[in-house]
Symmetry: C2
Subunit: 386 residues, 2 copies
């Protein structure tokens, strides 16, 4: 395996009822800004629980952070924070609220155009923040990355900094009780594809990382359908919550190559059409794997054997083992209620060409672990995803 | 799964040649005390590498920390630290040196009898320290626990505190090149048994923790013999180093029951006879699992199936599947060159009774995840281990 550095300081507080531990994790005397999204937390009881836990603090609220959090909205939060001298942030929501909060935490102290942070500029300081996760999916609750959308330019870009690991994250699986099936299914697909982006590349003898990745995939497969169809099943919900956090906390990525091609193409699809993040991934993933099946052969065969139990014994032809494993995954997404073709979502032709043009313009010329995904190949992959 | 909290702040710096990054991880202007063991680092080049990396610091040395670090020796280090106003510690060694350094880090600031820290007293402050691991085995490089031996009373007790996570740990797999086979084999057995102590209990629907534990066990099995027999094989060494760190960094223990019975009995055996830690474990483990096979039935069957591929298809009788899995593990230890009976080490009869008496005296009356291991059962287990 390659050399690596790994450090993840986020404190995880996991279990039913753990929101009651909130106040012991925020420094006394802090002025807290609670950030949230569309207000679902006001209907499912979480808002009241948080308010109760924060009764000893001076605290303010900022709601309305969108799915695919918008730069324009986040700037308003920053203005409010500066005006009110807030010194601790609390993100209550899913990946979008947490991602938005990370950006706010760093951009509040950034001198100059804050959008630079999404174009590689280095954050110098960040406000401390905790999170209460309400939707397992992105893993944002235990990593230092964020994806921010800018409405004015239809861009969706990645911001990351070691300064924006959450101080703590409260993972209470019972918060999933009120989630609609669509959000549950999206979360499982998102987590599954996060794992594969760190796993389906080429082998570097990283035995533990491979086994952990496969363990997460098996957990998502074995618990995914139960989680989507049986909201009361807290065992399945707990396993999905913990698996989706570990899917993107950096651990399975250490010392191995990565291929974020599916996500990069997916981000463009969301930026152009507004389609749910996970649904863009589910359409792109099978086609990207097929397009690169020679290059990813060894790991795809390992994936077939260890995750889908498709081995030499069950199928002699390695190419068929690979296509079968990709088809099984496609079927798994569909079994959760997530359709896997762009045409299923009524999207018009031409997205491949648009995305290729956007990649070319931004200099995104060689995605994938070996740099094989040119704008042209990205175009083909998208067009095969209809 | 049960509710849990998890936070592990240690920074891991992994790979060949990473000792050269040492100085960028120690605060400038620190007065550093380098702690080590019997001096093997002076023969294998590590001492020179460290000295070179620390050239910009004022630094002192304290050598001679024993395998099973002795309280009496550690007190001398504390005296030296206080006298010299050291403010950063650097442990260069295996689990014993790192464990000793943890104790020193906390005991330096402890008011009163330092041995209290091994009897449940709470540390209030600890000196920051980093580690350079020279022997993969104990996982001490990424956790906050230590085992300390007191010569005067023949005690071997556990000290732990969230204040003694290493600030950083440098894991350079090439340091294993100079290890003798005995130390390599001991390390693999120790790590293997650490995993089982957090895994072979009763099921609590913790899907990820189980898969991760099984992944570590498979990695140790698949790489263990190569690592012991082919010192130049850096792929195997890298996998063993990373697996043994993750075997005891807290991650696979979250939300699940644990059974540290094998370790507790093993510590007594070392305290009484001086037998290597891992070798005590290898003798106790098979007998403890057999003694508790009804109680641990579900997990032992899962272990048989997922780790040793012994399933209903290969063996219809569940009891035989369990004994076969335990026998395979016993064979695995032996294949590394680690004998699995106390008589193999020429130890005289009577150890079971002595250990039972020591447990009774200290009030260690119910070890194991369900408290089933009474002093009497511990006696039986030890006596069956001859």
């Amino acid at each position: 395996m390659h050399h690596f550095q790994f450090q993840n300081p986020t404190k995880i507080i996991f279990g039913a009822g753990q929101i009651s531990n909130l106040s012991s994790n925020i420094p006394q005397g802090s002025k807290v800004l609670m950030l949230y999204g569309g207000g679902s937390i006001k209907h499912n009881g979480i808002y009241e629980q948080v308010k109760k836990s924060l009764s000893a603090y001076e605290f303010l609220e900022f709601g309305g952070i969108e799915p695919n959090p918008r730069y324009e909205t986040l700037l308003k939060a920053i203005e409010y924070i500066r005006k009110e001298n807030v010194d601790f942030l609390l993100a209550v929501g899913g990946g979008s609220v947490i991602d938005g909060t990370k950006f706010i935490a760093a951009a509040t102290y950034y001198q100059g155009d804050a959008w630079d942070l999404c174009n590689g500029a280095k954050a110098i300081k960040a406000m401390p923040f905790g999170t209460i996760l309400t939707l397992p999916a992105t893993g944002s609750e235990m990593n230092c990355g964020a994806v921010i959308s800018r409405e004015s330019s239809h861009e969706k870009l990645v911001f990351s900094s070691p300064l924006v690991y959450p101080t703590f994250s409260i993972l209470d699986p019972t918060v999933t009780l009120s989630l609609p099936p669509r959000q549950r299914a999206n979360g499982v697909v998102d987590a599954f594809i996060h794992v594969t982006e760190q796993y389906l590349t080429y082998p570097v003898d990283a035995a533990v990382q491979d086994r952990f990745a496969e363990g997460l995939l098996l957990t998502l497969i074995e618990n995914g359908k139960i989680y989507v169809n049986e909201p009361e099943n807290m065992e399945a919900a707990s396993n999905i919550v913990w698996a989706s956090t570990l899917a993107l906390n950096g651990l399975i990525a250490v010392g191995v190559p990565e291929d974020w091609g599916t996500h990069m193409i997916g981000h463009e699809l969301t930026a152009l059409t507004g389609l749910d993040h996970a649904r863009t991934l589910a359409t792109v993933w099978p086609r990207l794997q097929m397009a690169l099946k020679e290059s990813k052969k060894e790991k795809l065969l390992q994936f077939a054997a260890r995750v889908w139990n498709i081995t030499e014994k069950t199928e002699a032809d390695p190419n068929l083992r690979i296509s079968q494993a990709i088809a099984n995954t496609d079927q798994f997404f569909q079994s959760l209620g997530v359709k896997t073709h762009l045409s299923d979502y009524g999207l018009a032709l031409g997205l491949g060409e648009q995305i290729a043009e956007r990649f070319s313009k931004r200099g995104v010329l060689n995605l994938g672990e070996k740099g094989e995904i040119t704008p042209n190949l990205a175009c083909q992959i998208v067009n095969q995803s209809y």
